[in-house]
Amino acid sequence: MTHLIDIAGVRHAYTTAEGPLPVLDGLEMQVPKGGFTAVVGPSGCGKSTLTRLVAGLMRPDEGTVQLHGEKVTGPRATVGMAFQNPVLLEWRTILKNVMLPLEIVSSKMSRAAQEDRARHLLKLVGLEGFEDKRPSELSGGMRQRASLCRSLVHKPEVLILDEPFGALDAFTREDLWQTLLDLKSQEPFTGVLITHDLRESIFLADQVIVMSARPARTQYVMDIPRSGPRTLDDLYTPEAAERLNILRHQIEVAQGRAPAEPAEPRIDPEPTERAVPETLP
């Protein structure tokens, strides 16, 4: 079976003044069409390098990155990207910001059609009525919504999200998780999400990949079967707690703070009761 995204045996090193700095060493990743993979790992382990490889912004020293069984040799219009920094262009309105990718990849599309497409997406994420505002007039969460619209406006097959919710407060972030899932149901894409938030990874993704410390290899892969709509309550089940536990242990292994044995099984469905004082002193 061919996967939409197939990364095999990728090694890469950056050239620095102190000699080569290996960042990736044996990276494996397969994402089926329509899948949503989250990538977690210690800071500086090369997660952003991974996004640049998939986007075709750079090529690996060794190994292959394939989209549709085809080797990625350069940027392609079938990829959309969103970053932690929403990078909206301050001199454009929100609508024109969202239209930007269409100006580049679908220049034949009429302006009216481009506008309709952008308006449609903005409506989906709840930004109706903000089309003519400038980015500086919007809150951080709203800007990130607009940024998501821009990354999807040209109907990319692959959406690369590099910590898109990292700079948002917890409540806004959870709102945006839901927005992202809604978008995915309306605008099918195959997603790769780089994140530091383990809850985010198990809530959004159907596959979580743990990368080791630099030079990174694929250390652990967790599949999360999905059925039916997701709610935030799913994060507070014993099953979710167990998944988080395993992932946390894997991160500690990656950071070199825990031995590489499997996490102590905690299948006990009874949640551990924390003693809460009845009256505050």
Binding site: R52, P75, M81, V87, P101, I104, V105, S136
Partner: protein, 253 residues
């Protein structure tokens, strides 16, 4: 709103003139020590046609020098913003060139192109004002966050598209900031040449003739005329900035 934009600056100017008048009057200074605004009115009356002619001379040479500075400064800034090697190579040269007091360059240029007064004046106005523009454009380009490039590069956009759609507009606020500095600098350049070179024209030459004839009110009148031209050109730049980079202005709370 109109009152704050127009009324307040005018009131400030009138207050300044009154304070000046009072200062001279209270100290009993004769007009060869410090002319007062009321001394200037006869000077303007007497030489008004000359002021118009010389003012125009100064203005057009300054504007041409400034345009040249914009073109060359933006060009140098582009080159330095895009290539690190060229930036490292050009910076010391530029800084060294800028560190030379232009007053010392004026006689050299006046000798080099003797008689070409218009050309010399424009040249000095240009030389004194292109530096801030070059530096600001290069900084604007080199500090462009990589993500801005990446969102377009990932779509297969060419370097030229990235430049027109992102790098250039993003640099505009810095560019206009530098242009405001360059406007006043260009006036200094024009006047240096007009004052120093023999048989010069423009307000600088008028100032010089006031000096030789010991007509002190005329000298002060020229200074005020220069200030007025400077203000005029500055607000032209402000208007351009509002048109092309108004988005950078945040609504004040």
């Amino acid at each position: 709103m109109i009152f704050r934009k127009v009324g307040v600056p005018f009131a400030a100017m009138i207050l300044f003139l009154i304070a000046w008048e009072v200062l001279v009057w209270a100290n009993g200074w004769p007009n060869y020590r410090m002319a007062s605004p009321s001394d200037l009115i006869p000077a303007y009356e007497r030489y008004w046609p000359l002021f118009l002619e010389m003012g125009w001379q100064t203005l057009w040479r300054t504007v041409v020098g400034l345009l040249l500075a914009v073109i060359v400064g933006t060009g140098i800034g582009l080159v330095m913003g895009i290539s690190r090697t060229l930036r490292d190579g050009l910076y010391p040269l530029l800084v060294g060139f800028n560190a030379i007091p232009k007053a010392t360059v004026v006689p050299i240029v006046a000798l080099m192109f003797v008689g070409a007064h218009d050309f010399n004046t424009v040249l000095i106005a240009f030389m004194i004002s292109f530096f801030p523009i070059a530096v600001s454009v290069s900084i604007g380009l080199s500090t462009l966050e990589p993500e801005y490039r990446d969102i377009l590069r990932a779509l297969g956009a060419s370097q030229a598209t990235i430049f027109w759609k992102i790098a250039l507009p993003k640099t505009l606020p810095e560019f206009f900031g530098a242009l405001k500095v360059a406007v006043t600098l260009a006036f200094i350049g024009t006047n240096l040449m007009e004052i120093v070179s023999p048989h010069g024209r423009g307000l600088g030459a008028l100032f010089d003739s006031g000096k030789t004839n010991s007509d002190y009110p005329l000298m002060f009148a020229v200074l005020l005329a220069l200030a007025a031209l400077g203000i005029l050109l500055y607000y032209v730049v402000v208007a351009l900035e509002k048109t092309f980079a108004g988005w950078a202005e945040r609504p004040s709370g």
